[in-house]
């Protein structure tokens, strides 16, 4: 299985290639951080089509939930959670 990134979550989810329920049940963890890579047009469209809502569901464990379109995905990223919480101080 290919490494899963935040970007591939959104791309696969929006394309319907990966079922959201499977992602949730699988509890997939990120293996590569490509936050600095440029966004693709498909990723940009996600934000244009409607809200992409990110919720920290468990700050202590770094669990994050992303709502987009009619789907949701969850993953764990302690570094991301830390950055978000620090920005909210």
């Amino acid at each position: 299985m290919d490494p899963v990134t935040r970007r591939s979550f959104l791309i696969k989810g929006s394309a319907g290639a990966v079922g959201a329920a499977g992602l949730v049940a699988g509890g997939i963890a990120l293996t590569r951080d490509d936050a600095e890579a440029p966004l693709s047009s498909a990723e940009l469209e996600l934000a244009d089509d409607g809200a992409v809502l990110v919720q920290i569901t468990n700050a202590a464990t770094g669990e994050v939930e992303v709502l987009f379109g009619e789907r949701e995905v969850r993953f764990t990223d302690k570094a991301l959670v830390a950055r978000v919480l620090r920005s909210a101080r």
Binding site: A20, G50, A51, L53, L67, E70, R71, E72
Partner: protein, 455 residues
């Protein structure tokens, strides 16, 4: 109320609040299913008259395999538009047709059938009628409402829009510590006996109604003719769904995002209203009928059955002595009534406990309906489906009080009082049902209700 504002969360979200579900066999081998939303609409509700919500998915669900899950779903999505950006008015002149340029705020909807994992659009951008404003704005309301009945691709008809609420009940009495007729004077806190007051007598609702061929709803597309055939019964419920999150913009527009979550449902009238404890009503609204085994204990030992002997000392002695689980109510509300209890009748769907309005479609409509349905010997009435004229409050009050327990224990004798319990609002002369689709009466007009005082 059947399910008007019946749970804390949904009472704050009226556009998604399913108030009643009806299902009954209609002519030409069809079934009519009605689900209502927007409880207790005041007809004079301007300037922003009532409407469905574009952000809600409304569904009519049919279970024809007895597992508490939908096998056939009719899905309704609405689209609201303003045609005149420069007026505060709902209409700038008489609305004499559905495409009237005078009508500023209008809704259209799309109907999609979901079955076997496939989605099929049955009707696209069908216009709703306007709300009934008054003689100047909607001068021929009946014609507008009739014009809003549309055909479905593949057979059947649909109507979505405002109607008079068909539910009749004395809310003020029932929710004042279960004041029942004709026993007010025998209550622990007695009052004089009085006639019933129909609390919804002049309220409107928003109706989603379909009339579809029976074979569109049944397992393997059959038209059952034998009422005793287990495949003759279908289970029906209405439900509404919202996406998990809404983000409000500074311009009051909202973005909705995430998976759809059920926020309201209704099969049997009054189930969530008077069976499920207040603390669990919101959860009940969020799960499907296949989860209703979690609530079965509240059916087996209904709180109201314990209250009646306490509130009416000496009136319900046999009910007071009935401590066994209520197998009668478990059957009526959660599995259907199996063969052998009522001659010539069953609407059993299996052992899965699910609150569904069960309709045996092999039992034809009757030209002489009894308001008490099965309790009155009328096999075509509630709880075999539900017709708009069935007196479900009286039926369920009597059932909870013990009227149906002899079905499962012939040695039990209901109290004499059970046979005379009345809600007291049946046959209100102000009620005006139709004898044709969509069966609920025309909505009350805002100009006429509330009525002007006589001068």
């Amino acid at each position: 109320m059947s399910s008007h504002r019946e749970a804390p969360a949904i009472s704050k979200d009226p556009v998604a609040d399913n108030t009643d579900t009806y299902a009954f066999v209609t002519p030409n081998n069809t079934v009519t299913i009605i689900t209502n939303y927007l409880p207790v609409e005041a007809p004079a509700g301007g300037p922003n008259f009532y409407e469905f919500d574009d952000a809600v998915t409304y569904q009519i669900n049919i279970d024809n395999t007895g597992d508490g899950r939908p096998d056939v779903t009719y899905e309704f999505r609405f689209e609201t538009t303003n045609t005149n950006p420069n007026t505060f008015l709902y209409n700038t002149g008489p609305i004499d047709r559905l495409d009237s340029p005078n009508w500023n705020r209008r809704q259209r909807y799309t109907v999609t059938k979901i079955s076997g994992g496939r989605r099929k659009t049955l009707a696209r951008r069908v216009p709703c009628p306007p709300c009934n404003i008054g003689p100047r704005s909607t001068p021929n309301y009946s014609a507008l409402a009739d014009a809003a009945v549309a055909n479905l691709d593949g057979g059947g008809r649909v109507f979505c829009g405002q109607r008079a609420d068909g539910f009749f009940v004395d809310l003020g009495s029932i929710f004042d510590l279960a004041t029942l007729r004709p026993f007010q004077s025998l209550h622990l806190i007695p009052t004089a006996n009085a006639a019933g007051v129909d609390a919804l007598a002049q309220a409107n609702v928003h109706t989603i109604a379909i009339e579809v061929p029976i074979d569109h709803l049944t397992r393997r597309g059959r038209v059952p003719t034998d009422p005793m055939d287990s495949r003759s019964t279908i289970g029906i419920w209405g439900a509404a769904y919202r996406q998990r999150a809404a983000v409000r913009g500074y311009d009051y527009g909202s973005r909705h995002v995430g998976p759809w979550m059920q926020v309201s449902r209704l099969g049997n009238p009054l189930f969530n209203e008077v069976i499920v404890p207040l603390s669990q009503k919101d959860r009940w609204n969020s799960v499907g009928p296949d989860r209703d085994r979690d609530f079965a204990r509240f059916v087996a030992q209904p709180e109201l059955a314990r209250l009646l002997p306490a509130l009416y000392p000496g009136v319900f002695p046999n009910l007071a002595g009935l401590t066994a689980d209520r197998a009668d109510l478990l059957a009526v509300l959660l599995t259907g009534i199996p063969q052998g209890l009522i001659p010539g009748f069953q609407n059993f769907t299996g052992t899965t406990q699910a609150d569904e309005l069960r309709l045996n479609v092999a039992i034809p409509a009757t030209s002489n309906p009894n308001r008490l349905g099965l309790l009155g010997g009328d096999l075509a009435g509630f709880p075999n489906g539900r017709r708009v004229t069935d007196d479900v409050v009286t039926i369920e009050l009597r059932a909870v009080a013990g009227a149906t327990y002899p079905l499962v224990d012939p040695t039990f004798t209901p109290d004499d009082a059970v046979g005379v319990i009345e809600d007291g609002t049946f046959n209100n002369p102000g009620r005006d049902f139709l004898d044709r689709f969509p069966y609920l009466g025309l909505p009350y007009s805002g100009y006429d209700v509330p009525a002007a005082a006589a001068s």
